[in-house]
Each structure stands twice: as structure tokens, then as C-alpha cells.
Symmetry: C2
Subunit: 222 residues, 2 copies
């Protein structure tokens, strides 16, 4: 498609005049949202390498320069995409952490589940070199989402001791590292090293159990 402006010829019933109507209006109306949706479609289908400005524009059915007005450049579009991702990510974490029967690692499982459900988006969210780190929308969405990590350990967002911060940091790093190794396919060979029939999920449980080693017996991996 070379452009989305297609001309249809119509005849006005009453006046009899021939009218040249455009089947798609020159002004889209909600192009910003449409472009974000299109970009995410492309991201999901072709991965981050395939997510180009022009591919997103094609998917949305507009000219390749249309995104410029709304997002400035490619970095701007990716940043908006990442910010939206962090909003949904934060919501998923919040739901998991604040559930009444939430167990110790449920936030972590939600963290991993979001990444598995949106692999390319998740990787983009943590790929600083492709994002505008100064963007306020991104910063706010990210901060809001990541605060649930401390909340998952029942810790305040400020005034933590060094030991507390070490524990929160450790939990985050553990889950984040597992997630990225998983997305990079680096864990695919692990079950082969384990006893016959060990599933990836069982390994994740074992990892959490190892992290919990030494905690009070009854609360262990509750």
C-alpha cells in the first residue's frame, strides 16, 4: 500500500451530483493510539528488530512520516510503547502482590508471566539504549510499577536499612535475571541436567526454595 487515501466515486441520491469521497479520511482522528497499537502488533509479530517506524506506519495504514508528528522519532515511539508496557506491568504486579491470599513469590511469578506473555515488549522496557530515559511518562510509569517490588516484601518505599535494601535488591535481581535468561533461551538446556522428568516450573520452585533456605520453617515458601 502506497498510502491510505483511497478515492471512491459516489453519486448523491438527492442532488444527482458525482462526489469524490475518500473511504479513509485524511485526518485519522486517533492516530496516536492507533500507532501505538500497530507498533505493539509489529513488536509482537516481528520482534524488536522488526519494529521500525515505517513498519508501524504501514501496520496503521498511514504514511511513513505520520508518526513523526506524534512521537518525534523512533525513540519517542519506543518510549511511549515502553511506558504503556510499564503501566500494564505495574497493574499486573499490583494485582499479584495485593491479592488477599498472595504468597511470598507470587509477585515474582507475575513478573515472569508478564515477560513471557510480552517478551519483546518486556525486553524493550529494559533496553535503555533504545529509550528516552528523560521522558517523564516513562519515568513515572516505571517508578510506579517497580515500587510493587518493595511492596512484595512488605517493605516501605523509603527509609530502608541497608540490609532491607539488600533483600529487596536481591529479590528483584533474582527474578529479573531469571526472566531475562529465560527470554534469551539460556535456560532451555537446564532440565536436561536435572533428574528425568524435571519441569522448568519445578526448577523455578527449586530456585525460590534455595533463596528461602534458612527462613523460619513454617513460613518457608508459604
Amino acid at each position: 500500500m502506497l498510502g491510505r487515501t483511497q478515492v471512491d466515486v459516489k453519486v448523491d441520491f438527492y442532488s444527482g451530483k458525482i462526489k469524490f469521497m475518500k473511504s479513509t479520511p485524511y485526518h485519522h482522528g486517533a492516530l496516536r493510539d492507533a500507532l501505538l497499537a500497530a507498533a505493539e502488533t509489529v513488536l509482537r509479530r516481528d520482534g524488536l528488530p522488526g519494529m521500525t517506524l515505517r513498519a508501524a506506519a504501514r501496520e496503521a495504514g498511514v504514511s511513513h512520516a505520520a508518526p513523526t508528528h506524534h512521537f518525534g522519532d523512533l525513540t519517542g515511539l519506543l518510549t511511549a510503547l515502553a511506558a504503556d508496557g510499564f503501566r500494564r506491568f505495574g497493574e499486573a504486579l499490583r494485582a499479584a502482590v495485593t491479592a488477599p491470599d498472595a504468597r511470598r513469590w507470587d509477585g515474582a511469578r507475575a513478573y515472569i508471566a508478564f515477560a513471557v506473555a510480552n517478551p519483546a515488549l518486556f525486553q524493550l522496557m529494559f533496553r535503555t539504549d533504545r529509550l528516552d530515559d528523560a521522558n517523564e511518562s516513562l519515568r513515572a510509569a516505571r517508578l510506579h510499577a517497580l515500587q510493587h517490588i518493595a511492596a512484595a516484601r512488605h517493605m516501605p518505599a523509603t527509609d530502608l536499612s541497608v540490609a532491607q535494601l539488600g533483600e529487596v535488591l536481591g529479590g528483584w535481581a533474582l527474578v529479573h535475571g531469571y526472566t531475562l535468561l529465560l527470554l534469551d533461551g539460556r535456560l532451555a538446556g537446564l532440565p536436561r541436567l536435572a533428574p528425568e522428568g524435571t519441569t522448568a516450573d519445578a526448577l523455578l520452585d527449586a530456585m525460590f526454595a534455595a533463596a528461602d533456605a534458612g527462613r523460619a520453617g513454617p513460613r518457608r515458601h508459604d
Copy 2:
């Protein structure tokens, strides 16, 4: 520079003949290694986005199509770069883990130190979408390097129990996650949350201490 073949005019002292000598030979002789070195220079200077086939060729002073013969395509060059990175990475891990006075987390510190010293290279090494995962050289170098992770926990490379595998996986995920969060600048704001004067290194120690919580007292963080 349009090419690296420059012609110098020289006079042969004995024969008196005029000779057209090229100051740079048509055949480089060791272009493969030179290209790898040039590529790493570019990678270090301009990051992964700036590491293009043509940039590496420019840096090495050859035509932009010269790398094709040695590496096939861009993925091939990046794969060779990553394989070389894994070899050096493995050597660094081996040295840290096998040192006679090696402490429990010294392998982890070497892991982080390598990434900090070679940030773009390290990120490339774990960016599967840019590499040829089927490449034997890469697979061998990576396998060899990562085996030191199990060694750091004094565990065999095969026949592990699920619990052992969970501990190894946990250690790897913890350190890998910390490393990537650090490289992505995601930890820059953490010291501000901690008590006045807390350094990033103290936080890392706290993270290791939290991971060691519950281990036998005297051996704790030895």
C-alpha cells in the same frame, strides 16, 4: 576514505626502475582478526547500535564489503565477537573461581566486573536475537564459560539434584539480573533510598548477605 589502496611512487635503487608500490597491500593478511579488533573498538566507542558492518570495515580501513568473506553477514561478525567475549569471560571467571583464597561470591564479582569493563560486549553476548545461536564456536565458548558458574558453588557439571540445580540457577539469576540492571542504569537511584553515605558496593554486599541469610554462621559470607 574511499578505499585503503594508496599508491606510492618509489625508485628501485639498484635497477633504477620506477616502481608503483602500494603503501597498503591489497591483501591485508590478517583481516579477520583486524576486523574483530576494529569491531570491538567500535562497540566500545559507539555501543551496539553504532556497531555496523560498515563502521567496522571503516575502522579497519578496508572496503565495506570486505567483512563478508570472513563473516558472511553482520550476524556472523557479531557472533564471532560474542564468542571471543565468552572466551575471555570464561577465563576471568575461571581465574576468580579457582583462586586459592577464593571466597563464596568472588565468581559473582568477577562476573559483574567483566560486564562493567565490557558493557556493550556483555550485552551482546546475551542478545540472542543478534547472534547465530547455532554457531559451534559460540556454543562451545559459552558452554565453557558458564560451566564455571556451577564450579563456583563447588558443584558438578552433571547429575545434579533438583535442589542443587535450584541453588546454581538462583546464584546465576541473581548475579545476572544484578549485572543487567546495573548496566541498564536501573540501580543508579538506589543509594539515595539507603542511609546517607551508602555506596553501591555496600549494597552489593548487602545483597549477597541477604542471599546468604540462614547459612551456617561462621561460613556466612566468608
